[in-house]
Amino acid sequence: MVGETLRNLLLIAWLLPLCGFAVEIFGGFWGSRRSQVAAWLAVGCIATGFVCSASALTIWGNSNGWAVLHRAGHHEAGAADAHVAHDAPQTPSAAALAAADAHAVEKPAEAAPAGTDDPVTLAPKADEHLHDAHEHPGQPQTAFSGTLYRLAAFGGLELSLDYYIDSLTLVMFTMVTFIATCIHLFAIGYMSEELTDEYVDHHAHLRNGRHVHRPGRFYRFFAFLSLFCFSMLGLVLAGNIFQVFIFWELVGICSFLLIGFYTERKSASTAANKAFIMNRVGDFGFLIGLMVLWTYFGTFKFADTVDADGHVVQAGLFQMLPRAPDGNVIINAANGEVQIGSATAANPTNRHATIPYALLVLAGLGVFAGCIGKSAQFPLQTWLPDAMEGPTPVSALVHSATMVAAGVYLTGRFYPLFVQEVLLTIAYIGCITAFVAATIAIVATDIKKVLAYSTISQLGYMMLGLGVFGWGAGLFHLVTHAFFKSLMFLCSGSVIYGCHHEQEMPKMGGLWRKMPITAFTMLVGVMAIAGLAVPGLVGPGFGQLFAFSGFHSKDAVVATALAFVQANPAHFLLFILPLITAGVTAFYMFRLWFYTFAGTPRDHHVYDHCHESPLIMTGPLMVLAVLAAYCAWGGEEGPLYLLITGDQPAYVATGIPVAGAAGLTMPGHDAVHAVHHQAGTYALIAAFSGTFLAWLLYGSGKVDVAEIRLQLSGVHGFLANKWHFDELYDALFMRPTHIVGRFCASIDRLIFDGILHGAAGATVLVSKWDRAFDETVVDGLVNLLGNATWSAGNWLKVLQTGRLRQYVMFIVAGVVALFGVLLATFPR
């Protein structure tokens, strides 16, 4: 019942933007280019979606009595001593054994107050349960799944549209729809220039040097935004990995359409191509992962397929990889491979009982490869800065809050199937990405590019968090990042709009006097991302006012990283680099703020003409600013974190003592909590030093930045060239492709065309010979006959002199000769 209600609400929220898209794209084409109807229709659809999502969240919470929020007592009441004793990896318990049996232990409704220090009863932890579709008697269901529509069945493989609703889904839905609503409203103001029948694009030139004149595309922008919202929500709602892939591609298409919105600009269309193609490179790995999954697991669905009676017809992916009580995957003693399913897990379509460990790693890496492409991780990160060619609302919605977060979301969703080697890879990639992008952002001058690199860096942070076993930390950072990054993008959009499409920071300065609201909201966002907090005043209750959301989420990631590195000292980089990156993040974000809003104006033309944006743009800014600041109220005890981690995998909380072939120790919650305070201190120090350095260089005006740039010109050049990644990829991939292309073209030209031309030439030659033969031999023969006849006649003509006497003479001579012959041959 609850499940159906939730399903219907989320279906409405999901499908309404699709209807909006259809109406907008057709209606807008035939309607007036100057009407805003398309935009308000899109806003209506997405706002309704937000209402539905929020209602769904409420209903969900009410259905299980908001039990998830009562877990807070676990950390709160438990002083450090209660947990220190349990720092070590937990001993397996009977309940955990039963949990490993794929029939979940639902969260106990009593939400055990963690005050019970009994080591035995502590075992069934309150926050420990598996994803499950069953209705366990006595326990309210928190995760719902089912099939919406069956697309096709190929033998044992069934492709269908499923849904999977748990707390993470609901949080994501609410977040996406809310941010999208704000951005839709903002875009109505930002894209108002397109409300004309003739729009002059100053960045696109025709061959004769004139600018491009074209009709305005206001309606089309909102149609694409609606389509994007539909795709993103479909991805979040997906109940099987194949459906994720479908919507994965759909968001890719929408991103392509939106990046290349200004189609006449070469830079925009190139950037759209680059984004889509690099995503496809990642999707190649995704497909490999899907293939492995299908071969060994035989199904794509996340959760069990249940028939009408409640019996499990087909086990879901998450159930088919059971974990031992210590959290490891179970190795079959017979052939050394990983066990698939168990005696109680129904698996009619699957033929394999075990999967080789290497293939499981491959499947995980394959799926993660798609995430690398989608979330702009190293090495596929170069498309995201170029994607800033799209209008700023697109950057805010797609390339900061939602689409790029889809990769992180999938990593989180697919967590139970990632083994530790995969997680380590994820962690390292995220770490490298975070560091590289942060360094590039130091020297970027385009305001949107700084934010783009910041996005890449923060996505790296999220991946790092997920990789070091901080499932909740990574996803927590995802949500907070969505809020403050979209806020900052919208602020930059406001600046760009106010400065009449000026995007270069060296031309700005001192704008806070002209654009106070924008400046203030931007400051809120910057403080959030920097992870600033007032150290001594942070605490429960009103103390939360002194810590912004970024502080909490970044804290969680850094703490998890520290716990991981303490457990596995060989991977110390996984803590050092994020810490340094935190400082760098604070530095470049405050650099951005000081450069743009503080100081004296550097370009008076820009300064004089700039103005504050209208209310329709600054309204969403203010709303988002509030959320960006305080959405993570309460930190890891706050409602957001608890909601996100409501349905986290069980073994995440406990940690895994010796995981995988690499023998890593994955820290559990207790381990993380032990170092939380220490990590937080480190992070705060890093953030403050970054902020101070930024103020010193850009805010105070005491240090000449240009001189530093000159002195460190080598480093600066290297960073300004984005670590030469574009040149590297150009040399590694573009040039060989061009060479191969040229080679193929030359084969085409030389061999195939050569054959054709040769054949043609041979035909011409043959025809020439034929003609020559015809003319010389045949004609010659005929002419010869004619000529011979003529010359014979000519020669004989001589005889016919016309002289009578000669004729007579001939007669006589002839007769004489005749008679002579006769007489000679016939003698009498």
Binding site: Q800, G802, R803, M809
Partner: protein, 100 residues
């Protein structure tokens, strides 16, 4: 007297007529040659009529020849006169329009 003599005479006349036809440039001269030829043939016929069993037929044929010779002479002369009227000369060498 004897057949051979007559035949000889006829041969001589004939040959002279042929030579006359072949060599004379005057058209009338050619016609005279024709007369001689026919005459020689007449002598032959008459000789044969006398000295063989040809008898009267030889003379009859000879008469025919004479008549036909006369006719032919008339026509030929008409042609020659026509030619003379057109070309103001009777030189047969001038009559070479049929030259190839």
């Amino acid at each position: 007297m004897s057949l051979s003599a007559y035949l000889l005479v006829g041969a001589v006349l004939f040959v002279c007529g042929i030579v006359c036809m072949a060599t004379k440039r005057n058209g009338i001269g050619v016609l005279m040659g024709v007369e001689l030829v026919l005459n020689g043939a007449n002598v032959n016929f008459v000789a044969f009529s006398k000295y063989t069993q040809l008898g009267l037929d030889g003379q009859i044929i000879s008469l025919f020849v004479i008549v036909l010779a006369a006719a032919e002479a008339a026509v030929a002369l008409a042609i020659a006169l026509n030619f003379y009227n057109n070309h103001l000369t009777i030189d047969v060498d001038r009559a070479n329009k049929l030259k190839g």
